[in-house]
Symmetry: none
Subunit: 409 residues, 2 copies
């Protein structure tokens, strides 16, 4: 299975975006040991696109094409590959009906251009696009399989996961050659983790073990191959967790937000937030997850001192005495949010996102308080590095870390 | 000057990194109006690399090659291009001396492999690498110019800026810097925009005009070169805005959130939100911007029906009668938020993010209401396509669109 990935779009050749689609697809295929031999990018130019597809069809078994399926003049993928495939383009009625229904639902006028997105090759297997208009297509030509996907990453990914990968796995009998597990830790630094596992990391050969620093957390990738790869990984994982298991929250695609949602669900608890500098980012990350309604009532976002009084109910006296960027204010925010939102647990964030100082305190200073049930609220003071975005993101991550360590007790 | 950029490295084909080098180089060249026609990626495989260079040399005037110049076995760029260039590789003495001195300074043992990095083509112009070991090279072959650069981005960039760009500007007389402006529109679809500008887009040659669809908005890139490029773009922009100016919110790096912040600031207005399915994402995007405190008080996030009553103050009767996913509830949320947050303008979001139906309505159905001052609240019903993330993101974008269209009146 010699695979080639071709992106069509002048925006790539102008450097407006990087070809992250090719990276994503390659990574997926690498997991199955399916080698990708070439990436190519060609612009919205008919002659060069035609030539590119010709070259590809001579050297590759599977050609995955992203982009150029949209409604406009310069979306030329279909027309550029048509001379090679020698197939007519026909309207796919289901797709057309879907496009029409979207326009109807939104009371918008459909133009003739929009019909173009419903054009498919007459012998194509048409793949329904759950995230957008133009469907994916699988088209066989001699010994070569052409896969056409939209260039919008969310649409491309959904079509790959839902249709293309299962098809390739089936037809080419792909088996995951390498077994790998990413252990995810929070609340421990990369160097401390490495130090605690120094002898294991140094002498370990099979499975291999590789640390990886991420935003506010650390990963350890265990990788093995061969017949008993899974057993080898399980044994090494047990060794690792015996030393640093208290910081471990999950593996692979698990996120700390999902872990917190699961812990809340298991305990039948609800959570809410009172947020100043984080502006709702903490609660938004939780509501982003399916099943959030079982564990999340809502949040209070109060960016100004005035709003902290009116929206959250922090007393004017307390703010006058301690300021809003203080242990006392953070505690009051959490306690009040717990009441106003009628939740078992409430977390609060107040601090300085920057770029300027606030109430005489430096950018990066953040207080996070957590109130659970009738216990005294706990509060932590942190000083995060970096710009406005980084401070806010790190504060939210730290919030999830704090809740995680409390809930798993 | 037909340019092609080729990256050599299996790590790209495994998806371990994206080809950001090609993006960076393309962006630089686009500024000088030097068109890039192809990007290619090939792995550390001699046969396929040789073939890739052959194809490139037949269709391009300038071939910029990144990667494969390192000291290890699989760094094969030099050897793969050698049959084509028909030149010997020789040790570049200055480079070798530099490598030896680096090893001496760090008390490290130099291996024979390291000598490999000092190998250059006998007729190459050697470009000193200020950031690393392997130098860059310019090699002419028939009518084609080969440029060899290391794959490490900092080394590649420094060599491009210091040596390659000045050389290309000189040889290809790239004086005419390209001027380009990206016009950003919201509230109009890509196909409708194109339809309204059909004759302009079809007959326009200089400046060129290219539509670009983005998440919930549309861009039009105007590009011109030559002495009066700026004036030509200004004239075309005026033409375009005469037809579709009501959807235009800004150019280049401007975002719709920034535009809304600026409009609020100019009018001395404050904004707040009442959010259900968007979970605080709307207000978070505003608070993410510097200067948010002047225009934003805060937000109320109420994910459950219960929270819509207690946190926002929607009446239980209204929810009983109309449900939470209704015009009436959206309006009440906006009106209540305006009061509770003491803001001039409040926006609300209620709907079904999915994956399951809710209150008998499909995923994607979202009501957005806006209350400004004492006016009657306006409300819109939308039906967004896609998964949970997409529905929530599109809803937030639509919210900014609605506010923008009201504020700019």
């Amino acid at each position: 299975m010699r695979t080639e990935i071709i992106a069509v779009g002048t925006e790539l050749l102008l450097g407006q975006i990087a070809n992250t689609n090719a990276q994503w697809i390659s990574k997926k295929l690498a997991k199955y040991g399916a080698p990708v031999y070439f990436h190519g990018v060609v612009g919205d130019n008919m002659e060069r696109a035609i030539k590119t597809f010709e070259v590809a069809s001579e050297r590759s078994d599977v050609i995955i094409v992203t982009g150029g399926l949209g409604p406009t003049e310069d979306d030329l993928t279909r027309d550029a590959v048509k001379p090679l495939l020698k197939q007519n383009l026909v309207i796919h009625e289901n797709t057309l009906a879907k496009i029409e229904s979207v326009y109807r639902k939104n009371n918008r006028q459909m133009t003739t251009n929009n019909r173009k997105q419903a054009l498919v090759f007459e012998h194509a297997s048409v793949l329904a696009n759950a995230e957008g208009m133009a469907p994916g297509q699988l088209v066989k030509h001699d010994q070569t399989l052409f896969v056409f996907l939209p260039g919008v990453p969310s649409e491309m990914k959904s079509l790959m996961e839902e249709h293309v990968l299962p098809y390739l796995i089936d037809v080419f009998q792909l088996e995951s050659e390498i077994v790998s597990e990413m252990l995810r830790f929070i609340g421990i630094g990369e160097s401390t983790l490495e130090h605690k596992l120094e002898d294991i990391i140094k002498h370990q050969q099979d499975p291999t073990i590789a640390p990886l620093a991420a935003e506010g957390e650390v990963g350890l990738r265990l990788t093995a191959s061969g017949a008993n790869a899974k057993a080898k990984i399980a044994a090494l994982k047990a060794d690792v967790l015996q030393r640093v298991g208290r910081y471990y929250y999950g593996s692979d695609d698990m996120t700390i937000e999902e872990k917190v949602r699961d812990l809340l669900k298991a305990k039948g608890m609800t959570l809410g937030s009172a947020e100043s500098l984080t502006g709702g980012k903490f609660i938004e990350r939780l509501i982003a997850l399916p099943g959030a309604s079982a564990v999340c009532e809502g949040g209070l976002v109060a960016y100004t001192a005035q709003a902290k009084e009116s929206v959250i109910g922090v007393s004017a006296d307390l703010i006058k005495q301690h300021g809003t960027i203080s242990e006392e204010c953070a505690k009051a925010m959490a306690t009040q949010a717990q009441k106003r939102l009628s939740v078992e647990a409430a977390i609060s964030f107040t601090g300085v996102a920057g770029p300027d100082n606030s109430e005489g305190q430096e950018p990066g200073v953040v207080y996070i308080a957590l109130q659970i049930g009738g216990q005294d609220p706990i509060v932590e003071r942190h000083h995060f590095e970096g710009g406005r975005d980084n401070v806010r993101t790190r504060a939210v991550k730290k919030g999830y870390e704090i809740i995680f360590h409390h809930l798993k007790k």
